[in-house]
């Protein structure tokens, strides 16, 4: 009898510890921030999303207010349609706000920064952000720089 109770106590302790560890892993180590938070979706079109990926943060004034939910290519207009999920608490974003794809640090991941507009009407679920700025692609930046260099060069040659 005594032995059975020790076994039960040990097993109970073990199961309790295991479940506590499981609880810790699921709640404390994961980005639970947007897990069960009420959100609303808006879309934005970009000519080029660069290295933007799903679950990338959406920030406003540097504060994360949501995440990228879906990235798709519009087969007709051949541009990228990005669906953003934004926390319900931030439902005062002016509808003429600007969304731009930015890079965190030199080699960091891409994220979407939203710059506030001036409209009195706020973005609603399903709305589209019309003013967007695509990602800066390093290669095109360099080629533009080289082109302008060579144009300067030829201008000087003509003089």
């Amino acid at each position: 009898m005594q032995q059975t109770r020790t076994v039960e106590l040990g097993t109970g302790l073990f199961v309790f510890l295991g479940l506590a560890a499981l609880f810790f892993l699921t709640t404390q180590t994961t980005g639970s921030g947007m897990g069960r938070v009420e959100t609303y979706s808006v879309t934005a079109r970009f000519d080029n999303i660069g290295g933007l990926t799903g679950r990338a943060p959406v920030t406003m004034a540097g504060v994360t207010i949501g995440r990228v939910e879906k990235i798709a290519l519009d087969p007709d207009r051949l541009d990228a349609v990005v669906t953003l999920k934004i926390d319900r608490r931030f439902d005062q974003i002016p509808e003429d706000s600007e969304a731009s794809i930015l890079t965190a640090g030199l080699l960091g991941g891409n994220y979407i920064g939203i710059g506030a507009g001036g409209s009195m009407d706020a973005l609603r679920d399903g709305d589209e952000i019309y003013i967007t700025q695509s990602a800066l692609v390093l290669e095109s930046l360099i080629s533009r720089f080289l082109f302008s260099q060579s144009e300067d060069q030829s201008d000087e040659d003509n003089d």
């Binding site: 076994v7 199961v15 295991g18 560890a21 499981l22 892993l25 180590t29 994961t30």
Partner: protein, 255 residues
Amino acid sequence: MGLLGELGATLASFLRTLGSMAIFLGRLIAYTPAGLMRFRLVVHQVHNTGALSLVIIMLSGFFVGMVLALQGFDLLARFNSENVLGGATALALIKELGPVITALLFAGRAGTALASEIGLMKATDQLSAMEMMAVDPMRRVVLPRFLGGIIAMPLLVAVFTAIGIFGAWTIGVALMGVDPGVFWSQMQSLVSMDDVREGIFKSVVFGVTASLVAVYEGYTAWPTAEGVGRATTRTVVITAVAVLILDYMITAALL
């Protein structure tokens, strides 16, 4: 010809083992509903395989977490990105090291005990005695041990991983001076619920694998001292290889 014949014989015996193990698993699954009714037996085995493995699991988890943080810090410091230490160690522990190392330790600590216990019961004719009393040793001896292992494994993996993260915290934050806030916030932004789910899925698969191999090897052991010894060795070897192969396949499938 001799070499080729030997190769063929090895392949045939491998396939035969695989097949009889699959049939064994099928029988165990068929008995499971009835086995769960006698839950006291299963609880006893959860104690044997799980609770008694707790100390070695916690100790190993803590040291694995610490060495991971130490190596990770050294590597990340070269790229000036010590800040992601928390996320990197947590991801490694949750997705890979937690399930795999726990399964290997489980094979060594609990699997060998199961195999030798059942093997010895067979060698000392206890299983035949049960059969004579119309008690099916599959249901009375093998099934509770199998189910106990399956229940214990995910819990052990969770404990291992959680302790490992604290081990990483000890080295990273307390010793190396990574900012504690950054350590946790980087972890939370890097680790997603899918990663935790992958870890849990792996731990369940490894639990079934390790328990199945242990009870199968014990049950099919030659009823001699040598046979029981061989069964224990085979348990560890087969579990380790199977877990590592399964780990690769699950990771490749989920990535």
